[in-house]
């Protein structure tokens, strides 16, 4: 059960006060009035995941409705509304990415929703001289929208009926991870189009007439483009429905029940492993450091919409959520309960204070990136920050990287503090 209330002025970071303040209203609250245990913390972790995926689903449904509107009436206003719905859908989804690492059920599933970088020429037209696809990818220029049959590596595939099932089967077609046919970034490409601005100001500029009917249609095959967008948004909704069910309380045959029946140490390990893996290897490393040090906008996460700063920001928020046990839902309500922070506080208040301060510092650094990118004066989105010779931009990105590196060190310490020596699930069988 989630704890939901709307204390508008409560800051997200005062976990202990929140847990105490909402005692005795729901089962998870009564647990919070007792000292947190590993079992209660893992149960609340499942609550956080469930609330997060529910929010992702709610906002995906809104996106689906907005794109249906757009397809029914392709106007600039409806395109704008669809883009805003996409941006809103990213907010909760990116906060759920922390559940990916350590929970194989999420990791095996998420490629259909959030895979990147993608070779968008698989889906639709691209400007060839500004399109660098993955080396050796036979599907990189297949252009599903353009024809009823595509050829990938010598194999001809019938793509006449653009159904959600067909698109799901086309994901990673030809054995290349860059062949992303589905998910948020496929939708992003269908709304924004290719970003041809490189390191300059500006994102993708897909004309609204790409969805026009009859002779107004630009770039051809507007009906198939519309079918694609319709199917891919439907698929996003059904995929999220499946994941919400996996974390729902009260079922005996879903992932949550497995997690609850396992040793609580396993659950705590998954929590810390997810936090550390997303902090260091994925967010600081793959999503920021690679892009920065190689000056590579091909490694930009939300490259069509230039929303990368928000993807990073809400990834960071998700990490903090898991530690503090707090999650601000899209309707403004707050989920809170027994947390890792409570557990570490029982054993090592100094470490808890340090890790909380480091998580705050990371959010501050990511918040600076978000503020620079969204500045009304001189906006500097992520693809400009990583441009060669942009020392100011590089320092914004580097500060976020360093903050994440520092918090990862304390996450490792927290794991040791809680008696978990080996963080990698692969090492679970060894007697460290």
């Amino acid at each position: 059960m989630k704890t939901m209330f709307r204390p508008a002025l409560l800051a997200l970071t005062i976990a202990a006060a929140i847990s105490a303040g909402c005692a005795n209203t729901t089962p998870s609250d009564s647990a919070a009035s007792e000292p947190a245990t590993k079992a209660s913390v893992v149960e609340h972790y499942a609550n956080l995941a469930h609330a997060g995926y529910e929010d992702a689903l709610i906002t995906a449904k809104a996106l689906n409705e907005a794109t249906d509107q757009l397809l029914a009436n392709p106007s600039d206003a409806n395109m704008q509304a669809a883009k805003e719905a996409w941006l809103a859908a990213r907010v909760p989804y990116q906060q759920t990415e922390v559940f990916r690492f350590g929970n194989a059920i999420v990791d095996d599933w998420e490629g259909q929703l959030n895979a990147w970088p993608l070779d968008e020429g698989l889906i639709d037209y691209v400007q060839a001289d500004d399109y660098q696809y993955e080396l050796g990818n036979a599907g990189a220029t297949a252009n599903i929208i353009e024809s009823n049959n595509i050829n990938v590596g010598g194999e001809t595939l019938d793509v006449t009926n653009l159904t959600p099932e067909l698109l799901a089967n086309l994901n990673e077609v030809g054995g290349s991870e860059a062949n992303v046919a589905t998910g948020y970034h496929a939708i992003e490409f269908l709304l924004w189009g290719q970003d041809l601005h490189g390191f300059e100001q500006g994102s993708g500029e897909r004309p609204i007439t790409d969805y026009a009917t009859g002779t107004d249609c630009t770039n051809g095959n507007c009906d198939r483009r519309a079918d694609y967008l319709d199917a891919v948004t439907d698929l996003l909704v059904s995929d999220l429905e499946w994941m919400v069910a996996q974390w729902a309380p009260g079922a005996s045959d879903n992932y949550r029940s497995q997690l609850m029946n396992a040793n609580a140490n396993e659950g705590v390990q998954k929590m810390l492993f997810g936090m550390g893996s997303l902090s260091l290897g994925e967010l600081a490393g793959e999503r920021m450091k690679v892009a920065l040090e190689a000056n590579s906008y091909e490694d930009e996460h939300d490259c069509f919409s230039d929303n990368t700063h928000n993807s990073h920001y809400y990834n960071g928020q998700g990490i903090q959520n898991v530690y503090t046990g707090d999650y601000r839902r899209v309707d403004g309500s707050l989920v809170s309960g027994p947390s890792l922070s409570d557990l570490v506080e029982q054993n090592n208040p100094e470490l808890n204070a340090r890790l909380n301060a480091q998580l705050d510092a990371s959010m501050k650094a990511l918040g600076m990136m978000k503020a620079k990118a969204e500045s009304s004066q001189n906006p500097m989105p992520f693809d400009m920050m990583i441009a060669p010779g942009n020392a100011k931009g590089a320092s914004v990105v580097n500060r976020a990287i360093m903050a994440l590196v520092e918090q990862t060190g304390s996450i490792e310490q927290a794991a040791r503090q809680l008696g978990l020596e080996a963080l990698s699930p692969d090492d679970a069988g060894h007697s460290f």
Partner: protein, 349 residues
């Protein structure tokens, strides 16, 4: 897709500056002696890299002054020797090589989106002078062995008007190889300066072992399993291997294993034997030889081995030998020695 060469490795990041003051009180700790040997063995590897890199830069200069087909072949050979010298010490992911992303500067990899080609095309078309400063500010995809390899070997480039010895291509190649030579010379001197803090700090024992473990894991997973199509639903693809343009993927793997054997294994064996793990130390040494016995037979281009199921078997036997070595070092020995792996850059996607 993972870029395992990323040196965000936590252990050393937490150690503040790798050049931090030595803790003299640890200099006579029981493990200092192993680190003394590692320091000296790795220094030899770095010196080899510096020598070969300087030879490469000199050879490029000579070739570009007086181009000839023979000179081009000699330049390719000099590139290969310097690249293999880097492969030998590539496992060292801590200390001075972490500064300024030097490991990435030497080898930005993997590069699935062909950033090297894009950056080269940009620099070759640009009118601005190619200076050391220009190379320094152009990002890691420009600064190392893969860029030099691209200029020397890329087929599309070398069938076009910018093929070597075209003036601007020569200038870029010279600037890049000078950058590599400068970096490797700095690395030698920084590694020497790092001696006291390395030997004086106990934690570097585990750090060094973890570096070797990560090096083996990268070899097994990224450099072999990935191009061999053994992961996920991926297909065999030589583009997932490193150095596919020069067809040096496998000889580079050979060099990395030889590097571990020469610059890591001696002190590691001694450590294991002192902890009464003589059998394990011997099994590991044997397994190194098992892996290396695949060569020089396997010093061949990888692409034809991926294309033919029969030829693929020779790759498979190399892969199996490497997995056995990885299991012995990363599972058996690490557990016996209590080396715990923390988060590293290989986590994530």
């Amino acid at each position: 897709m993972k870029r395992l060469t990323l040196t965000l490795c936590l252990a050393s990041s937490l150690a503040a500056s790798p050049l931090m003051a030595a803790d003299a009180s640890n200099a006579d700790s029981p493990t200092a002696d192993y680190r003394k040997q590692w320091h000296s063995d790795i220094l030899i590897g770095y010196q080899g890299l510096a020598t070969q890199s300087q030879d490469l830069a000199n050879q490029v200069e000579a070739y570009c002054q007086t181009p000839s087909p023979k000179g081009l072949e000699q330049t390719k050979q000099a590139w290969l020797e310097a690249f293999l010298a880097w492969q030998q010490v590539r496992f060292v992911d801590f200390g001075p090589v972490e500064q300024d992303n030097r490991a990435w500067q030497f080898q930005f990899w993997p590069d699935p989106k062909n950033l090297v080609a894009r950056k080269a095309s940009y620099l070759l078309k640009d009118d601005a002078q190619i200076t050391p400063a220009k190379i320094s500010e152009s990002g890691v995809a420009v600064q190392g062995f893969p860029m030099a390899e691209y200029l020397l070997y890329d087929q599309a480039l070398n069938n076009g008007e910018r093929a070597l010895p075209a003036n601007r291509t020569c200038k870029l190649l010279l600037a890049v190889t000078n950058h590599i030579a400068d970096n490797s010379e700095t690395l030698v001197s920084d590694w020497s300066g790092f001696q006291n803090s390395y030997i004086g700090s106990d934690q570097y024992t585990d750090t060094t072992i973890r570096a070797a473990m990560a090096g083996l894991e990268i070899l097994e997973e990224r450099r072999l399993a990935n191009p061999m199509g053994l992961r996920g639903n991926a297909k065999r693809s030589v583009y997932s291997a490193d150095a596919w343009r020069s067809e040096a993927s496998l000889i580079a793997a050979d060099a990395s294993v030889r590097g571990l054997k020469q610059h890591f294994l001696p002190a590691f064996s001694r450590l294991l034997k002192d902890r009464e793990q003589t059998d394990l130390a011997e099994r590991i040494a044997q397994q190194f030889d098992e892996v290396l016995a695949n060569f020089p037979e396997l010093d061949r281009p990888m692409a034809p081995l991926l294309a033919d199921d029969n030829a693929f078997k020779s790759l498979q036997s190399l892969y199996i030998d490497v997995t056995q070595l990885t299991a012995l070092v990363n599972d058996r020995a690490a557990v016996e020695l209590g080396v715990v792996r923390g988060f590293n850059s290989s986590d994530g996607d």
